[in-house]
Symmetry: C2
């Protein structure tokens, strides 16, 4: 069966430095900013959009509102009647929304679909937000008596790497610093103007306090209010769009490949199952290989850049070897050799990633695809990777429970 | 583009009379019962299922757990790595999950997909549950100071019908009674053995007290713990399944048509927009017409039966004219003439519906498709509509905000 390829016409990301909650704004303001930005950035009119997918993780817990798909309609009268649905897979919510939107296009249901992610994380005190984020783990089994479930869980991932292969904290700190550094080039990054010194990435209990176990403050992604959206289109729509905007169809990025797997939700169950595997998270590896396989990419070094889910530095450390940039357990080599640095062979998180750019969880997977579009259309400004043609993404929900990977390329 | 038709291989519904919470069981028990029941009922093995979609509305609010897609894996070791995602559109969550699963099959991504809906509604006191259900409305605008948001909202729908066309309460009461009566034939119905008299459907403040406005107790759907699942398959898989189970492919029901639209979330905005329309909810009408159109059904009387979203009796009253069984505002005629009664020309909610059978919200849309499968495979036992070949469904989220309709048929 021949299905339609899925094109990315562009999209919009809100400025992740904006604290919507503090400004007295709510999720609908994020919706409005994101939709309007997307229409303006792409030149596509509201009435051309035939369906919308909304990704959100914590709407119910943070502000008591469900049914968020429907709020897409509140942003423009032209959306009356628009088919919408909301998707959730914890921090991979954005990517599963993209998967669902792609399938609808491939099936011939719609030709132009908006996928929008939104999250409000600053409207409650930090402790409550941390507790609600725990809903992505097996709450009953994994969160009892844990103050910060995710720093705790990803500290345990670092423990696991240490036990299997050895791990030097300095390599985690280097990833944190890289992502903050990269964020300075990104005009939408939450931390872009933060005054950081080397001491902020050192074992300095004042500037870089321990949060849980091996995780210090600068090993953590940001708590962010924000949204991101992409417009996805069928070949037919993309062809018309290319014609009217005076460009070649080939210059419009496509989602060339995708991977999607789920592992058991509890961290203990995952690492027990992978005890004799080459990889700590074999289904993350499989997800990436599926995406590469569908995109006909056999060598990871064919990627011009990669955007990965650095919710904490050990997660990015894991992503490096799971992508195959090094042998398992040897991610430190790619760090030391500058492979993943901006300007390296395969820069990781040129955008700044979740640590430097920010992490409104429902938006993150979509933001990654958008950054794939930016890089492959030479629109990434100061954080452009020159001549980028193929960008890989890795978005995960929970402790690598849901894993989704895309290849965006021209 | 030719896409694969989507077949329904069967599925399973838990006994909605079971109070899981009271029995000390939780959502995972519902998952387990539903998945095991589905495997047993269809004879499909766990390892044959290639992807799972989970529908749930209130997991976060009722028991603090998100990321429910992943829990599918906890039901059988063979599901390790299975791609999963969770979908939400309030009480239409089940139907949007079916839409997403269908698109994945039509796109050729997977050949055998499980769609499972689960909801726990009895694990908190009734007042809290009612509040959480309000998350399907525009909480900030519509729920302030309202004790029971949904009885309130659908009482207002009855008001709207009364204002536009006139409405006699006795017709609403008749729909409630019909659904309770139908439920007696359904061995999985929550109310099947409840002792009800005519007084329970009268304006009797003891046996049928007012909940909000025009809504009395027996006008309301049930608060239910439960799950439902269906296995959907491509033509290739269905062909092999037919061969190995010794039946003709043509005897396996398909989803012949679907419709999906969203209207503005606030009830006031919806009725203001439809002021000059023939229908109170024009997008519900359009949703049904889309489903019928895709199924090549032009006459509503070609349906052998219909399962509709009787969250409250005014909703079913609305569904009758929106399906076109009567002219707008004349649903009472179909009630008086017995058209929608069991044994009538087009029985509505032979299963008992949300009022008689029960309404675990995330499961409801899936349960409707399953009842479509049961009817069109002559498996509905005592509530079988003889010779049923085409069943329509209408599942709505919020105050008819998200509307989804399917045609299941052979």
């Amino acid at each position: 069966m021949k299905t339609s390829p899925v094109y990315v016409l562009g999209g919009y990301q809100t400025d992740f430095a904006v604290n919507y909650a503090k400004a007295g704004q709510n999720f609908l303001d994020v919706f409005n900013d994101t939709v309007r930005g997307t229409l303006e950035a792409t030149g596509v009119e509201a009435k051309e959009i035939q369906s919308a997918h909304v990704a959100n993780f914590m709407g119910e817990l943070m502000f008591g509102q469900g049914h968020l798909g429907a709020f897409f309609l509140e942003t423009d009268p032209a959306f009356a009647g628009l088919p919408t649905m909301r998707h959730e897979a914890a921090c991979a919510s954005g990517s599963v929304a993209v998967l669902a939107a792609m399938a609808a296009i491939e099936a011939g249901r719609y030709d132009c679909v908006c996928v929008l992610g939104v999250e409000m994380e600053k409207c409650l005190p930090a402790g409550e937000t941390a507790k609600h984020l725990g809903a992505a783990a097996w709450v009953e089994r994994e969160c009892e008596g844990i103050r910060f479930p995710w720093p705790h869980m990803f500290s345990r991932l670092a423990d696991e790497y240490d036990a299997r292969y050895g791990l030097d904290q300095k390599h985690l700190a280097a990833l944190g610093k890289k992502n903050y550094d990269n964020a300075r080039r990104n005009p939408n990054a939450q931390t872009r103007s933060w005054a950081m010194t080397d001491d902020h990435f050192a074992e300095n209990d004042e500037l870089n306090p321990v949060i849980e176990g091996r995780i210090r403050r600068q090993d953590c992604s940001q708590v962010t209010d924000g949204g991101a959206a992409v417009l996805l289109a069928s070949a037919d729509f993309a062809q018309r769009y290319a014609a009217r905007t005076g460009r070649a169809l080939e210059s419009i990025p496509r989602i060339k490949g995708w991977g999607h797997h789920t592992a058991r939700i509890a961290f203990d169950d995952k690492v027990a199952a992978s005890k004799n595997d080459r990889y700590v998270f074999p289904f993350v590896r499989e997800t990436i290989m599926d995406a590469m396989g569908r995109a006909n990419i056999s060598d990871v070094y064919a990627f011009d850049a990669i955007e990965v889910h650095d919710c904490f530095t050990p997660t990015e450390y894991m992503a490096i070897d799971h992508f195959g940039l090094t042998a398992p357990g040897e991610s430190w080599k790619a760090i030391e050799e500058g492979v993943v640095a901006f300007g390296g062979r395969v820069p990781i998180n040129a955008s700044g990633g979740l640590i430097g750019l920010g992490h409104p969880v429902g938006a993150t997977g979509i933001r990654m695809v958008l950054d794939g579009w930016k890089q492959t259309t030479e629109s990434a400004g100061e954080y452009q990777v020159p001549g980028a043609r193929n960008i890989g993404t890795l978005n995960i929900g929970g402790s690598a429970t849901t894993a989704v990977s895309f290849v965006v390329g021209v």
